[in-house]
């Protein structure tokens, strides 16, 4: 499903002059099917407000010219939000805080029951099993466990299983690795890559972690004070120094090194992923060694 947005403005507390606050200001953006799309920007730049539009948790306001997610028109009052939400899965910050059921099985099953009440018990079980296995947990071992007995990283996996169980086409994750330890973070990123290859077509992540974004996303939008500053590939975004600095963002380590090394007369041209960066340094090293 392609996501197309034209002239989206959103004002909180629109009717109160003293409290109103413009969180999004004339946003236009296209997210193609198959993108691993990163949305970055400093705290309060409107990232979360934007992504909550995608599955209709926040409704578009009158002045929005276009907001479509596949065949769904979100500017239309009659939009079928329930059906939309089964196709656009949303994983919030700290999703493990939303776990509630007595067992992992029931927790993952909950969304499925809501969206597809007509499934038989067997069909439901099968889907729940598949979702739990997809996030890398052992179904037989965890199904009857209380989600609250599990570790932080496992809880987050259960929460994600509960979202992907409806087989969404688009998965939106708001700060997916915040609060995970480094190992949990690495495993989680592997999981996202696997999901993107096999399970969901489009992944949209909101993150402050520029290393994560540079390593995984094919396209990035930079938000600042509710406006889109720039969209492009990690290389386009991070190798243009002024975009990053004016937006209150850090550079990914690879982009920082590439910039600094260039000032020292070493020109590298990686796509900012770690592997490609290492490859570029290696090529450079072979070249100077061969020259000597």
């Amino acid at each position: 499903m392609r996501i197309e947005v034209e002239n989206l403005t959103f004002v909180y507390s629109e009717k109160s002059k003293s409290l109103q606050y413009k969180a999004l200001d004339d946003i236009s953006l296209t997210i193609e099917e198959g993108d691993f799309f990163g949305i970055v920007g400093e705290t309060g730049s409107g990232k979360s407000t934007f992504v909550q539009h995608i599955n209709g948790l926040i409704k578009t306001q009158k002045n929005c010219k276009k907001f479509t997610v596949g065949e769904f028109d979100l500017t239309d009052k009659k939009c079928d939000y329930k059906s939309l939400r089964s196709k656009v899965g949303m994983v919030f910050q700290y999703p493990e805080y939303q776990l509630f059921a007595e067992t992992v099985f029931e927790d993952v099953e909950f969304g499925l029951k809501n969206f597809f009440p007509n499934l038989t018990q067997e069909e439901r079980s099968e889907k729940v099993k598949q979702a739990i296995e997809t996030v890398g947990l052992d179904f037989e071992r965890v199904k009857n466990k209380s989600p609250f007995e599990m570790s932080g990283g496992q809880k987050r996996r259960v929460a994600i299983a509960g979202v992907i169980v409806t087989r969404p086409e688009v998965l939106v994750l708001d700060e997916p690795v915040a609060g995970l330890d480094p190992k949990g973070k690495l495993e989680f990123i592997k999981l996202l890559k696997r999901l993107h290859n096999d399970f969901v077509k489009t992944i949209i992540i909101v993150s402050h972690d520029m290393d994560l974004v540079a390593e995984n996303c094919n396209k990035i939008a930079v938000l600042k004070k509710g406006k889109i500053v720039e969209t492009g590939s990690p290389k386009e975004i991070f190798c243009q120094k002024n975009i990053v600095e004016n937006s209150g963002l850090d550079l990914p380590l690879t982009a920082y090194l590439q910039r600094e090394l260039e000032q020292n007369g070493i020109k590298l041209n990686s796509d900012l992923t770690v592997d490609n960066f290492v490859e570029e340094v290696k090529n450079y090293y072979c070249k100077i060694k061969g020259g000597k």
Binding site: D181, G184, L249, I266, V274, V278, K282
Partner: protein, 274 residues
Amino acid sequence: MSIIEVKNVSYTYDKTKFAVKNVSFDVKEGEYVAIIGHNGSGKSTLAKLFNALFVPTNGEIIVDGISTSQKDKLFEIRKKVGVVFQNPDNGIVASIVEDDIAFGPENIGVKREEIGERIDFALKTVGMEKFRYSSPDRLSGGQKQRIAIAGVLALKPKVIVLDESTAMLDPKGRQEILNVVKKLNKEQGVTVIAITHYMDEVLNADKVYVLDEGEIALQGTPREIFKEGAKIKSIGLELPLASFIAEKLRQAGVPVKDGILDKEELKGAICELK
């Protein structure tokens, strides 16, 4: 002088498994201490032991001369040790920012005029003066965390414990908080205990303790700790990204030197290849 003495401390939630096992160390007044460990290593349990939210099952914690097991000294202990937790939503009590910050000082009986001054100081320190009359639930996650830190600063504690309290901030916000914490530590002599996953926060510390399964697995200065690359990995932690890239370069046959911790050192090492 030691401000916190941890003496053979163990803690169990359910009497079968110990979350903290026989841990001992001292924190000196004015020190910046980092505690790292993977999820479930016992570090957050330890944070809650410092200000008597939990009392050790075995052993003792002495805060500025007072044992945390003395129930009648709770207020005194919590005046000395302020904790900032991971999720600011769990700690906000009032509907207006200034009331939220006043809550702590009011509870310990600070005079009205002084509360006003403390609110000024705390909000200024975290850069949130503009939001004094805002409602906390209208702030972003990072802004809320700064309010939570201001609430602790308003108590003028001798020790501040940060329990992964920068995890939800953006890089700029995180750096601001780190600068504030560093400043409080260096200029006002506030003792800092930072519990974190972020390796760059560890690099600021005078001393680092690595927890694994409730026990201290490694201790030393940041540089001493990260020399133990293999051990760090075996207990489920990762080296800083710069060290990781340096290792990958070595594997690819590029001879960069050992012991690289941050981006500047890595940059230097690549330049030296010439």
